[in-house]
Subunit: 80 residues, 2 copies
């Protein structure tokens, strides 16, 4: 078995209200070291083997089912 | 500036309805290589410098504001 990680983040030019909400709460809670926050999704996909065909399938589903290509970017990596 | 990544995932023993929903949709969409899916959150935190004090603050806010320690685990790493 292998694990493939798909990270999905809002495109840089897209407003990230969730990230802004978290960032806005930090000073009130006494946290001052963080200058910006962006929030996205993380998927852990279990596969039999992380070969080329499987990774091609993961890219296909990441770009359709797991992310919205209009407002999000995704990245795929095999978890060592 | 440095970027610190906080990944938040449901604890293994906790039911993950979002992951199950994604996994359930895969065969209908023609994807068969993925045997399980878990979904969590990814935070990208911008900081001035990723020193010990800053990372201690990130751990503190990750365990309180960014995750629910009863049902979620988090991990912190500096993005190279």
């Amino acid at each position: 078995m292998a694990r493939v990680i798909v990270d999905v983040m809002p495109k840089p030019e897209i407003l990230d209200p969730q990230g802004k909400a978290v960032h806005g709460a930090l000073p009130r809670l006494g946290y001052h070291a963080v200058t910006d926050v962006r929030q996205g999704k993380r998927f852990e996909l279990e596969v039999e083997v992380a070969d080329e065909a499987t990774l091609a399938e993961v890219h296909a589903l990441a770009g359709t089912l797991l992310s919205n290509p209009v407002i999000e970017d995704y990245s795929v990596r095999v978890d060592q």
